[in-house]
Subunit: 420 residues, 2 copies
């Protein structure tokens, strides 16, 4: 007999269902099990006198055990879960859970992360990953429909640095020095030199940074996009805006109010305009240390402003001073995208002239010898190009108003978090 | 003016195009450039006397330089490339290539890989990645439409081994031991314990193996699939067969004869049947060392047999002895999928009983203490489950009859290959 998903059960039908025991009430004459699969929950009702064999099986079962049940779906208006219950013919115990679970609804985040697979049995948490699955599918569909080629750049590289931040080193790469890439940046630029014109990647990034914020991880998944033959960074923002608008609209169609569809153009404000707005409209003076960028409070306030003034959850901040950005940026042709008050993207037009790029590297205090392999990409014809990256866990956390990326990563990795 | 892709140029229209100089003929009265973008090639024709300014610009240009050109598309039956040429109004030189290129059509594989971005400018090679892009899109669409949740498992782990093969170790993970995962195996099983029911991942795998074959890499991208609530490994094969049949059919619709659509069921032969067929029909005696598995010659011959007897490019080999498979396999409920004579998948039902799994680990000579974190997944309810993995570069290499995965990886990584 073919398995039926719980959401598809219809009254009067014979079904085979399978899932976890959500709840178990063993009364003197009756037994009630709530069984949960990824699509829903249903009550299984056993009259002990009528089904003594099955009653005995249920006696051996604990909460969170896994069962496969055949039986008949029956209408019962007293049952909360869709007004349906299953009267079983057979119950097979696939696996018995230990009686005491190590976490419950009151457990703190750290303990919940230790037992992440139990934490994720909460349907509200599984929902996060249903949204993520749909998000990625719509991103890929839009990009593929618009002529983008998907690439998988290597995460193991001999290039030790792309701007001075800390990298993880591999201990045993066949006697040579090898590192984990911090992003696909250098190799997605290479795909432009390969003439691929428009490329994207959904892949892992590695940062050996000792950050303990709600938005940082040592390993995270990013969507990286790069396009050739652009006039400036506004062409890149156009693509990102179209991509996100199309994707969020599809998500809104699928998930309703859980995901708001953007219905206005994303405002674009230069960093200088943002400073003025924060000062004059929000009475917020940016700390000196943050000048050239904006700090989290500034992000939050400019997000607020964009919502009040333009009705937009999104706002581009453009034209950061070159000194504040990575060496591969072309002048001040850069931008960040703020979504609900948090930065989710950095993007820019890239420097494609060999000599200027080399000078940028020297200006950042990096020895160009360490970047020679990368510089080679630009010697045999290089199109104008630019792109952006979006951290998916950060995007989802904002979209669903989660307090931290630890809740939107399937399994979070941080400086003190390697488990499970 | 908006850029037009070369494939979309129509006679009589004003266009702006951009791309690489494929070919350049500078005659006494005329100049001819063939410009190439990711969609095609077009000739640009300059009568020097009529366009002296543009002629001067072209004098400064080398092959593989990048140009942006505006002009009029004109019908000319003498021109090979679609019977069209561009009479330019303006030419902008985005970047000049060095005059001597480090590789040409005669260069060996190793040198071509050193300059992979130049190697990939060959449209036949870019085509590989257009096929890969479509392949992944169709895989993701089918899986998403069939209720699969996409996960991103961590590639950095504290679990050092999943069966004794060599792993890369990270040198500087905040003072603790950390490794790169060889596959998402352990964590995709965890997603089953999370109740996600059906999951997939497209992600990187890392193998610290000193292999120098046409099918191995130290870093590669795999599609991993895992499903819950199965009766046995045939349920897993059913999913893989449906997935590949749907995907290849879509690819055939898009790329024509480049990708053959499967039009028969994939035959399923037990390993014992395969041994008998090889011996009796192919007069091939498997070397003793390969017993419990089949060797590359055996794979080739059984692929041949499946094509002759069933008209199928695919053949499942099932029921490998448990001792020949990884510890997480349930008994002999395992399979490989051979495609055009090469193994592209391993799959199986997994052992989901804690005690048996622990015994399997001990039987493989692994200290269960090292696997305790993984074993924990199975203590609080575990559904029956199974899955498979497909190496994408290996699949594409077979699909397009490429001699090695070095040609189907965007950038190949091997024991002696970290460049570029």
């Amino acid at each position: 007999m073919k398995r039926t998903l719980i959401k598809d059960i219809q009254a009067g039908k014979q079904v085979k269902i399978a899932g976890f025991v959500e709840n178990l009430r063993n009364k003197s004459a009756m037994q009630f099990i709530v069984l949960r699969d990824i699509t829903g929950k249903i009550q299984i009702t056993v009259e002990k006198a009528k089904l003594p064999e099955i009653a005995k099986i249920i006696d051996s079962v604990t909460v969170e055990s896994v069962l496969t049940v055949t039986g008949t779906a029956v209408k019962n208006d007293y049952v909360k879960l869709g007004g349906l219950e299953i009267i079983p013919d057979t119950i097979e115990v696939d696996s018995v859970s230990e009686a005491v679970l190590p976490i419950d609804k009151e457990s703190g985040l750290d303990l919940r992360l230790d037992y992440r697979w139990l934490d994720l049995r909460d349907p509200a948490k599984a929902q996060i990953f249903k949204v993520q699955t749909a998000l990625e599918r719509y991103l890929v569909d839009w990009l593929t429909d618009h002529g983008f080629i998907k690439i998988h750049t290597p995460k193991i590289t001999a290039i030790s640095s792309e701007g001075g931040s800390e990298v993880f080193e591999i201990k045993n790469y066949f006697g040579t020095s090898a590192y984990l890439t911090q992003s696909p940046q250098l190799y997605k630029q290479m795909s432009m030199m390969a003439g691929f014109d428009r490329t994207f990647e959904i892949g892992e990034c590695y940062r050996a940074e000792s950050s303990f914020t709600s938005r940082h991880a040592t390993e995270f998944t990013a969507l990286d996009v790069e396009i050739s033959h652009i006039d400036n960074h506004h062409d890149v923002m156009d693509i990102e805006e179209q991509l996100l608008t199309a994707t969020f609209t599809k998500l809104h169609e699928q998930f309703g109010d859980l995901v708001a569809a953007p219905n206005v153009k994303f405002p674009r404000l230069t960093l200088q305009e943002v400073y003025r707005i924060l000062r004059e409209e929000k009475h917020y003076e940016m700390p000196k240390a943050a000048l050239g960028d904006i700090d989290p409070d500034g992000e939050r306030l400019i997000g607020e402003y964009a919502k009040e003034k333009y009705g937009s959850d999104f706002v581009f901040i453009t034209d950061y001073p070159h000194a504040a950005r990575a060496f591969y940026t072309m002048g001040d042709r850069s931008f960040d995208l703020i979504y609900k008050g948090v930065e989710i993207t950095s993007g820019a037009q890239r420097e494609h002239h060999y000599e200027q790029l080399k000078q940028n590297i020297i200006d950042k205090g990096i020895d160009p010898k360490h970047m020679q392999e990368y510089l080679e990409f630009f010697r045999y014809g290089a199109p104008t190009h630019g792109g952006f990256a979006i951290g998916l866990a950060r995007l989802i956390a904002r979209m669903l108003d989660l307090p931290t990326v630890k809740e939107s990563c399937f399994i979070f990795r941080g400086p003190t978090r390697l488990k499970p």
